[in-house]
Subunit: 297 residues, 2 copies
């Protein structure tokens, strides 16, 4: 592989150079780092939307070269979850990555990531308890393991993750710190649709009717955060939110909680930065979102 | 920290330069690698004997600079094991490391390795099942996690482990492969006393009477391997070995088994390289050993 397999002019039109093996990925990243260039990794599961674009743009502010991985990781899906129907659209993704200024796409196969005999699992206790950790058993083991692999495969200077998956970001930070992974972990703010709905690849599952009410997840969380910041009791605010989501058409609420922003421990009274987090179903589609609270107080 | 904190002449007499933080370790290793020098890591729990010396000498054949870590890792000891009385003798160890030609000693505190909030565990299934994995629940999680940390803290080109802990070596190889740890893992042959006893820091626990019969662990395993290579049935050979260890004074045998040398799966008939492995108690001291079989056949 050459250092720059495609010329700058042609790259964006056709999409950036794409590799599918650890060896090719490492060769390119090491070549860049050997030239003194700073490299960022943006791990994604593809089906890229404006939220991912914002991660790539943030990566470009932090580094000279941006690698975007596209891998729908089977080990973070439960047996009854949407691994099979999760959207896969690599050519569209490559085009979008090029438009956002990404320099390299890493799209490994499942066999490249988990060859025969694979037997290792990373578990993070504490921050992975409750919330999505309870609703999706094994999910964060799958996330921690695949992210550790991606970080050590690419060995970038920095990796960028979205704050929409707040608990995931907390698990990844903990894993990387605990295992001394030599990569800096950066969070990037949630990107929302005009009406407030957090951008998500899963929004594509929503029917028109579901899409019309989906933004009430954000609106409800924001109202809870504002209420708490104005002195309303945490339990009372959450109880109102549970009812509100039901009234707006959410079929089931996996959780709606206020947690410490960093340790993710449950909080009864907000005395330092906290996060209001929820996961709720519209039809068969599970949406998650979170907003800050206690930041001013 | 300077690149070479002590001069070559004085270093061996006083022991090599010693660091206790990840930051100092990384600064030194990165300085060396930046100069184009190849770096090896020899992870140890201290109480160094001739077996460790052979690992350091092997490391010197594979690299330009050798880092020896000395850390008695609490998470790989069970609640009723010998963590508290495990021998600690850093000054003697530093002297020995210097004599063997090691260039840097890394002796972190427990707090440096496991700061408050530490919450991550690496588990390896398959190769960690049975043998010491059954006798010492959680042991290989502790080993896999601390070794991953040491490898990512030091980021050497290569790390060397003794074949005496054959199952441990298999677990470490699996973990490093599965997580794409960018370090080459090398095994080094067992070093034995004149009478055949495998060198071990735990040999220091043996009374004179126990030491006099301890070599029968090796003799018995060697006899089993020879018998199997000459056509004796695996089950029959192991049954004889169990009896023999009892006759020679071993109080209890945790296991005595023949396993595939690589996958560690149990084997009934030896058709490819295998290993005869045992763990047995002399008094309160648990000794382990292993020998090759099926290598000729």
């Amino acid at each position: 592989m050459t250092t720059e397999a495609t010329s700058g002019a042609g790259r964006h039109a056709r999409g950036p150079h794409t590799v599918s093996t650890v060896a090719d990925l490492r060769a390119q990243v090491q070549a860049w780092r050997g030239e003194g260039l700073r490299v960022a990794l943006v791990p994604t599961m593809g089906a890229l939307h404006e939220g991912h674009m914002s991660l790539i743009r943030r990566a470009k502010m932090l580094a000279d070269r941006v690698v975007v991985s596209v891998f729908v990781n089977p080990t973070q899906f439960g047996p009854n979850e949407d691994f099979g129907r999760y959207p896969r659209q690599l050519e569209q993704d490559r085009f979008k990555i090029g438009m956002a200024g990404g320099h390299l796409v890493y799209a490994p196969t499942v066999e490249e990531m988990y060859p025969a005999g694979f037997a290792t699992t990373i578990s993070v206790s504490g921050v992975s308890s409750g919330l999505c950790g309870d609703a999706r058993p094994g999910h964060f083991d799958g996330v921690a393991t695949v992210v550790c692999k991606l970080l050590l495969q690419a060995l970038p200077d920095v990796a960028i993750f979205g704050e929409k998956d707040w608990q995931q970001l907390a698990v990844i930070r903990r894993m990387a710190t605990d295992l001394n992974v030599p990569v800096s972990i950066e969070g990037a703010p949630i990107v929302r649709e005009m009406d407030g709905l957090a951008m998500s690849s899963r929004n594509a599952y929503l029917t028109d009717d579901e899409r019309a009410v989906a933004n009430h997840l954000y609106k409800t969380l924001k109202q809870i955060a504002d209420d708490i910041d104005e002195g309303v009791d945490v339990g009372q605010a959450c109880a109102w939110g549970m009812g509100e989501l039901g009234r707006k058409g959410f079929a089931a609420v996996d959780y709606l909680e206020v947690r410490d922003a960093e340790t993710l421990e449950p909080v009864d009274t907000v005395t330092r930065p906290a996060r209001v987090l929820a996961a709720a179903f519209l039809g068969k589609t599970r949406l998650i979102d979170n907003v800050a609270c206690g930041v001013k107080g």
